[in-house]
């Protein structure tokens, strides 16, 4: 004997429920297979349901007049051997399918009868996902009110969620790694038994306000950024419509690789490494010592809103007159320095013990990092160059330096220098004067920072103009005015039209 339940079937292609109109049997009655048990009313018609079982009626589970949804058992029958078990769709616990332990009838060709609940899951071949929703061998064909099958997406446990958030927020890899590997054992909520520890889909942490501005980048640029490991949210876009350009990505990437350490290398076995002092390194050292211990250095700094410079740079890039030439904020800074020098002439001079030689020309030095060390080539008579010529000169100087082909003549007779610390990612610094000069300006990184505009805090492109001076020649007031002049150009490039 076994207790069998008859779930309400979908008798009309998509019906979801029916009303029990009239029971034709009562508990205790003997029933045969196909004997009419009950009359039900569906949305379409009045239907008689024949018994799937032979045996004795044990219990009527729904009363007349009640409406019951498809899939819910309506009657329980003590069925004799040879009866079948019916499972409702989505009925994983397989309740009401207690089978005759002696019935060896195979279900799905899988587990034997005694393990009917597992039979519902049966094989893992493709497609059994659907049958597992319908239960074992004898199933309701219609889907009833449950509609399609329930989602099979894996919900991360609480521990996995917090671990995922930690990983996304960039916190120490250890915590995330441990949680991910711990298969839920780390947290109080345990993952469902049998689930593998592969990470739940990680959603990025909340977007910081600074990158609330959408990143415009064409697909190929996105791929480039991905390939170079560049985070687009940190790249300063200089494209026509504010998009990130290929150059922007490469600049960010090369900065990162040159001026940011990626790895922590091992020291090696020897306790000390000895590098001979010679060549460029020796020359730099000599120059620095000469400069640092001869000229009393003083540095001043000024933060400025450089948004208009960034916009100006964008427009220059779009201009056909400047097509083919690298345009960057350094160009504007160079023009600013030349302009500021003309307003503060003593900054552009040389100290000798007897006299201060004020130069009426600007040989503008640009500090350049090369693989062999720092060099400072200069652009002769920069004051005579148009914006375009200056841009071209800067580009050429950079290329030549990078190629290691700068000639000594190009490195001598500079009158004032710019060092572009921003390209190293630094906000500012205290540069050491190039020997023979009394002023050196540091261009820092230009980044989005909060700035007060019209009484409100708003994001703006902000940079720090830093400068060091020889206090034998340049006092604080001159230093400040000079630096302020440069800053004011960065704030308003139109001043250059003066």
């Amino acid at each position: 004997m076994a207790v069998s339940e008859f779930p309400l079937p979908d008798v009309g292609e998509g019906l979801t429920e029916a009303e029990i109109v009239h029971w034709k049997v009562k508990p205790g009655d003997a029933v045969a297979v196909n004997q009419v048990l009950v009359e039900i009313e569906t949305a379409k018609s009045l239907v008689e349901l024949p018994s799937p079982f032979a045996g004795t009626v044990a219990e009527l589970l729904v009363e007349e007049g009640a409406t019951v949804e498809v899939g819910r058992p309506i009657i329980r029958v003590d069925s004799t051997a040879g009866s079948i078990e019916l499972q409702a769709p989505g009925d994983e616990e397989a309740h009401g399918s207690i089978t005759d332990a002696t019935d060896p009838r195979p279900r799905h060709g899988a587990a034997p009868a005694a393990e009917a609940p597992d039979a519902a899951a049966a094989s893992s071949e493709p497609g059994s996902g659907e049958s597992s929703d319908e239960g074992g061998g004898a199933v309701l064909v219609g889907y009833g009110s449950k509609g399609g099958h329930a989602s099979r997406r894996r919900r991360p446990s609480a521990a996995e969620k917090s671990a995922a958030a930690a990983v996304a927020a960039g916190s120490a890899g250890g915590a995330g790694g441990a949680a991910a590997a711990g298969a839920g054992s780390a947290g109080s909520a345990s993952a469902p038994a049998g689930q593998s520890a592969h990470a739940a889909p990680v959603r990025p942490a909340s977007v910081p306000a600074a990158s609330a501005v959408p990143i415009i980048a064409k697909p190929p640029i996105r791929k480039l950024a991905k390939d170079l490991g560049v985070d687009l949210t940190t790249v300063t876009p200089t494209g026509l419509v504010g998009e990130v350009t290929r150059d922007d990505v490469i600049r960010e990437a090369t900065q990162a690789s040159v001026f940011r350490n990626i790895q922590t290398p091992e020291w090696g076995e020897e306790r000390e490494e000895r590098i001979p002092v010679k060549g460029v390194r020796k020359a730099i050292a000599t120059a620095m010592v000469t400069s640092a211990f001869t000229a009393p250095h003083v540095s001043v700094f000024s933060d400025v809103n450089a948004t208009r410079t960034m916009e100006f740079v964008k427009r220059l890039k779009a201009s056909p007159d400047f097509a083919g030439v690298r345009i960057s904020p350094l160009l504007i800074m160079a023009k600013a320095v030349i302009w500021a020098v003309q307003r503060n002439p003593t900054v552009n001079s040389t100290w000798t013990d007897k006299e201060i030689v004020v130069h009426h020309y600007v040989n503008l030095g640009i500090a350049a990092a090369t693989p062999r060390g720092l060099i400072v080539p200069n652009i002769k008579d920069a004051q005579n160059l148009s914006l375009l010529e200056l841009a071209q000169a800067l580009e050429q100087l950079t290329i030549t330096a990078r190629d290691g082909k700068t000639q000594p003549a190009e490195m001598s007779k500079g009158t004032v220098t710019i060092t572009n610390l921003g390209s190293y990612g630094m906000d500012t610094g205290t540069p050491i004067l190039n020997p023979g000069e009394v002023g050196i300006v540091a261009l820092g990184a230009i980044k989005q920072k909060p700035w007060v505009i019209d009484g409100e805090v708003r994001p703006a492109f902000v940079t720090t103009v830093g400068a060091s001076f020889d206090h034998r020649v340049v006092d604080g007031d001159v230093a400040s005015r000079f630096t302020a002049d440069i800053a004011s150009v960065l704030e308003e490039p139109a001043l250059l039209l003066d």
Partner: protein
């Protein structure tokens, strides 16, 4: 109800042979039947009826999405099925379960269709040339006509060799007779003089629409309109069904062109298990037709001819056995794998099928070994 003067009947509803001018050419065909063959008619009608009822019960028990009853049409189907030869080709609609079984299709194939396992899936060449069910109303008539055209092009008609000459029978209903494809099939059949019998089972209802809405003229006259010799028979008379079909198929096979038979019968059950006939037809109509039941009258005929109780008991047992076997095998049906979606969509290799099948496998696998 739709009988006319032209209706050919050999066996009255009471089970006695009728003799008149109209049926005279056909009686000899009955005389040629052996006792065994006559008993087989009954056996097939009873067994398929029992199967049909069991299938309906299985649907009501949630084992099938749908059942399409052939109840009441056994006479038309069994008789006509025996009117064809083994090598003839049969194109059914979707209610010809008796014909299917007679031709060698395991009734479980039909069960599987209605359980959602397949759309047919048997090979006609291995199943008595009984082609798959066609659910779009009337479409099969064109396929049958095309097949018959092929026979004509091959010269497989009218040679006199009964094992080579081949004919085609196509089944359709009164509702189908309104479909354009059915008319087009008759246009082509008449034009090419195909070896083909159009067998219309007028069961008087197309779901809830009575045949009067399909036609203001007896349906057999449709064939006449296309120039096809047409006959109307009492479809509940298995002997008339047999004889007229046999005669027509022989004529078609002999190269005399197509024939059209309208078999008057009645759909005693609903259109399908989703239907409720109480909403549109009257009980007295059912009473009228149950008095003209094909099985009852034929049993009376056989008894009068001397068939004994043992025979009927044996038939009943066979029927019960098939019902029980159907039940058992239905409960054992295994769902097909999802890969079936992609198999056999094309005969030749197809990149999209490969890609999508592989994708679905990976997708299913991505849910791991969870229950």
């Amino acid at each position: 109800m739709s009988t006319t003067e032209a209706t050919i009947q050999l066996l009255s509803p009471e089970g006695t042979i009728v003799r008149n001018a109209a049926n005279e050419p056909y009686l000899p065909l009955i005389d040629q039947l052996s006792d065994q063959q006559l008993q087989d008619f009954h056996r097939h009608m009873v067994v398929i009826r029992r199967f049909d009822i069991e299938a309906g019960n299985l649907q009501r028990q949630g084992q099938l999405a749908l059942w399409i009853p052939s109840l009441g049409q056994e006479g038309a189907q069994v008789g006509s099925a025996f009117g064809a030869r083994d090598h003839d080709h049969i194109f059914p609609a979707y209610r010809e379960h008796a014909v299917a079984r007679i031709r060698g299709v395991d009734p479980m194939r039909i069960i599987e269709m209605l359980r959602g396992i397949s759309h047919g899936g048997w090979d006609p060449a291995e199943r008595g040339n009984f082609h798959l069910y066609t659910l779009v109303i009337g479409s099969q008539t064109l396929h049958a006509t095309g097949y018959a055209m092929g026979l004509g092009l091959e010269g497989r008609i009218g040679t006199g060799d009964p094992n080579s000459d081949t004919a085609v029978m196509v089944y359709f209903g009164d509702g189908a007779s309104s479909q354009g494809d059915v008319s087009e099939a008759m246009v082509f059949a008449a034009s090419y003089q195909t070896p083909q019998v159009f067998f219309l089972q007028n069961n008087h209802w197309a779901i809830s629409v009575p045949v009067e809405r399909q036609s203001r003229t007896p349906l057999y006259l449709r064939g006449t309109g296309f120039g096809i010799p047409s006959f109307q028979i009492d479809g509940n008379d298995v002997l008339a069904s047999y004889a007229v079909t046999r005669h027509s198929m022989d004529a078609a096979r002999a190269g005399e062109g197509p024939r059209f038979i309208e078999a008057l019968t009645y759909r005693m059950g609903a259109h399908t298990t989703s239907d409720d006939p109480t909403k549109y037809r009257e009980n007295d109509e059912l009473t009228y037709w149950s008095e003209r039941d094909p099985v009852a009258r034929y049993e009376a005929y056989l008894r009068a001819r001397g068939a004994d109780e043992a025979f009927f008991a044996d038939v009943a047992t066979e029927a019960e056995d098939l019902a029980a076997d159907t039940r058992k095998r239905t409960l054992e049906i295994v769902d097909p794998p999802a890969s079936k979606i992609f198999d056999h969509v094309y005969s030749d290799d197809h990149p999209l099928m490969r890609e999508q099948k592989a994708w679905l496998e990976r997708y299913e696998a991505s849910f791991g070994g969870e229950a």
